[in-house]
């Protein structure tokens, strides 16, 4: 047997309980995160079968998708949302699962709080009924989204059945240029691969550009893996990872820490390991990015023009349908397009670093009058940091308000809906038709691009505003 393995192989293979001939692997799950939307039918399933949750201590529940982002101390007004939230609380209590509901000090978006409290660890298998579970791959974990039937499987048996994905490595060397953030790096990759270019694969991100990123930046990149079709993405853990993880509530302590470290230090791709597909890009060529269509693969450098239909991969009909929805034309420049909404937040860009970036642009400027801005921290911990670091003062001074944590306008399950026809610059992950509210139009971008749009009222290259600050 070959001794050389990829990082992905090492973690996957060590979690296989059982292999089925011409079928999936039975994969053991170390951490299961649960939220209110994709879990009720799964809990109902185990209830109907009269089976308990096998490992409640490996299961963590938080409320995020449905929750309001103002007046969280009041009862939730929407009866359907309130019902889902109540169900999660009841299920968590019944089965002895940690529950960080609305109002709890540790409440926040599931993919933000997992790392914050050390639930997310290198070399773990992590699942959640949410496709952006790939976020946790930033720590060298195998983390991916699952459907409700699989949530039920994990509750019942702590395992799921998955065919092993193929392996892809994306190498990017070079430094991020001025005005470029991890979000831009991810949107660039997706624009190159298209929205289905990594389907069937699990991705490892390697190279200087990812090494140089903070843990928050790595989370943003891994979060967006699903947007090119990959089940997940991961980055080999390093000193930065271990430093981040150390001392958090759920991370191992004392002798257990040493034992964990002994495992974690083996988590890298061996020098001559083989990938099914390998791609390499030059990071220094990446610009601040913006999307112009209705899937995250329809993105480009902010100073470019919208491509002509005959110059893109895929069918022209679908492409033109997409531009028609956006009310854009082939060949349009994005710069200068007036916008109506700005959303800073989500599991993609709702971390402290994202608020620092946003504040760096709006500092000393004023929110444009034509813009409604929703600034939603990913968790209470992020919210506290925003206040402690003085960022809230900068935002307030510039005419912005800070809301309370949750998924919010990323998928608009609560009241944070962009009205039909309105154009939003959003730091979230999907620009699908109606994603931010029926008829809404979304431009995905980084916190810097969102900030530049928020103060100018139109699509603006953030580098223009950064020049003045030098």
């Amino acid at each position: 047997m070959s001794a050389t393995k990829t990082l992905f192989d090492k973690v996957w293979d060590s979690h296989v309980v059982h292999k089925i001939q011409d079928g999936p692997d039975v994969l053991f799950i170390d951490r299961h995160m649960v939220h209110e939307v994709t879990s009720p039918v799964a809990f109902l399933g185990i209830k109907n079968r009269s089976i308990p949750v096998m490992h409640p201590e490996k299961t963590f529940a938080t409320a995020d998708h449905n929750t309001p982002t103002i007046n969280q101390h009041l009862p939730v007004a929407d009866p359907l949302s309130a019902n889902q939230l109540r169900m999660l609380e009841e299920n968590a209590n019944e089965y002895g699962i940690s529950y960080w509901g609305l109002g709890h000090a540790k409440n926040g978006i599931v993919h933000v709080v997992g790392p914050e409290y050390g639930i997310t660890q290198p070399g773990a298998t992590i699942v959640c009924g949410d496709s952006h579970t790939s976020t946790h791959g930033a720590f060298g974990a195998i983390a991916f989204g699952i459907g409700t039937s699989e949530v039920e499987m994990v509750l019942a048996t702590q395992c799921i059945m998955q065919p092993k994905p193929k392996r892809m490595r994306i190498n990017i060397n070079g430094k991020m240029s001025k005005g470029v953030t991890p979000k831009d790096v991810a949107l660039f990759i997706i624009s190159q691969l298209t929205t289905s270019g990594a389907t069937g694969y699990f991705v490892e991100y390697a190279g200087e550009i990812f090494r140089d990123m903070s843990m928050e930046g790595r989370m943003t990149v891994c979060n967006l893996s699903i947007e090119m079709g990959a089940r997940g993405g991961m980055i080999a853990p390093d000193e930065k990872t271990f430093e981040y993880v150390k001392g958090r509530e759920f991370t191992p302590k004392g002798a257990d820490w040493d034992k964990a470290m002994a495992y974690w230090e083996t988590l890298y791709t061996d020098a001559d390991a083989i990938f099914d597909k390998e791609l390499t890009f030059d990071g220094s060529l990446i610009e601040p990015m913006i999307t112009y269509g209705t899937n995250p693969g329809m993105g480009m450098g902010i100073s470019n023009d919208i491509p002509m239909a005959n110059a893109v991969q895929g069918g022209a009909t679908t492409y033109q349908k997409s531009l028609k929805y956006m009310d854009f034309n082939e060949g349009d420049s994005m710069m200068g397009k007036p916008i109506d909404f700005v959303f800073l937040g989500s599991c993609t860009n709702g971390r402290i670093e994202d608020f620092r970036a946003f504040a760096s642009i709006v500092k000393g400027r004023k929110k444009a009058d034509n813009v409604t801005a929703w600034l939603v921290p990913g968790s209470h911990k992020v919210e506290s940091a925003i206040k402690e670091e003085g960022i809230l003062d900068i935002l307030t001074e510039s005419g912005f308000e800070l809301r309370e944590p949750g998924c919010s306008a990323c998928l608009a399950m609560n009241d944070d809906k962009v009205p039909a026809g309105k154009l939003a610059v959003s730091t979230s992950n999907r620009n699908f038709e109606g994603r931010q509210g029926p008829g809404s139009r979304t431009l995905l971008a980084s916190p810097l691009v969102a900030a530049a749009a928020a103060v100018t009222g139109k699509v603006t290259d953030p580098r223009e505003l950064m020049v003045e600050l030098v």
Binding site: H15, V17, D22, G23, P24, F28, D30, R31, V37, T38, P40, V41, R49, I51, M54, H55, H65, N66, N83, Q84, M87, D130, S131, T133, G145, I146, G147, T148, S149, E150, M153, A156, T157, Q158, M161, Q162, T195, S196, T199, G200, G229, R231, K259, A260, Y263, N295, G314, G315, T317, T318, K321, L411, A412, M413, R430, F432, E433, G434, R435, P438
Partner: protein, 198 residues
């Protein structure tokens, strides 16, 4: 939950020749608030089926009486986006038992298999033939033969084979689900759990 057995399905088809049909189109997020698996078919393709005043969008394929059947035929990269199994539930609840496309997003494909909807992946050429045939004559029937892993355009007899792993095929043929399997190996799982490092 065990589901319907799937053997041979012969049906007319509903064509949706659009690429990258995402799960937010299949079932928009605002309809994910139910706590039981009922009624999702009503909101399948909600914003493509209905105007914002809830009147029908007459030109959308589900609103055209001439198209019906238990087979949904979609463009490349069907089901991209979210992991919401509600998308597969909506497809099932509306009455579809099979989705045909030239490419599926991973999670959607898995969700379909887990609830008894068969995803059938065909070549881009064969997909185009199906679209052409169904649009020219909506009474065109397709046969999906799971035991033989074969899809046939009945009027012409043109066919193509499709992939499915033996394990899932057996589940679909018998209406078994994964939890039945996992519960049978619970002892192995418990032993494994005692030796995990994290």
């Amino acid at each position: 939950m065990a589901y319907d057995k799937f053997d041979i399905l012969t049906s007319t088809a509903v064509p949706l020749p659009i690429e990258n049909v995402d799960t937010d189109q299949i079932i928009p997020a605002r309809f994910l608030k139910a706590t039981e698996r009922v009624g999702f078919g009503d909101n399948l393709f909600r914003d493509w089926r209905y105007n914002q005043d809830n009147t029908l969008k007459e030109d959308f394929v589900l609103n055209q009486d001439k198209f019906s059947g238990k087979i949904l035929v979609g463009g490349k990269n069907f089901g991209s986006g979210s992991s919401r199994e509600h998308a597969a539930w909506a497809v099932y609840d509306y009455g579809f038992r099979c989705v045909v496309s030239s490419f599926f997003a991973d999670i959607f494909r898995g969700n379909c298999l887990n609830i008894g909807v068969l995803p059938v992946q065909v070549s881009a050429e064969f997909l185009q033939k199906i679209f052409d045939a169904v649009e020219a004559d909506p009474s065109t029937e397709l046969e999906i033969n799971l035991p033989e892993q074969k899809i046939t355009l009945l009027p012409t007899g043109e066919s193509e084979s499709f992939d499915i792993n033996d394990y899932k095929k057996n589940n679909m043929l018998n209406g078994f689900d994964d939890i039945d399997y996992l519960l049978n190996i619970k002892k192995d799982i418990e032993t494994f759990a005692e030796n995990t490092p994290l």
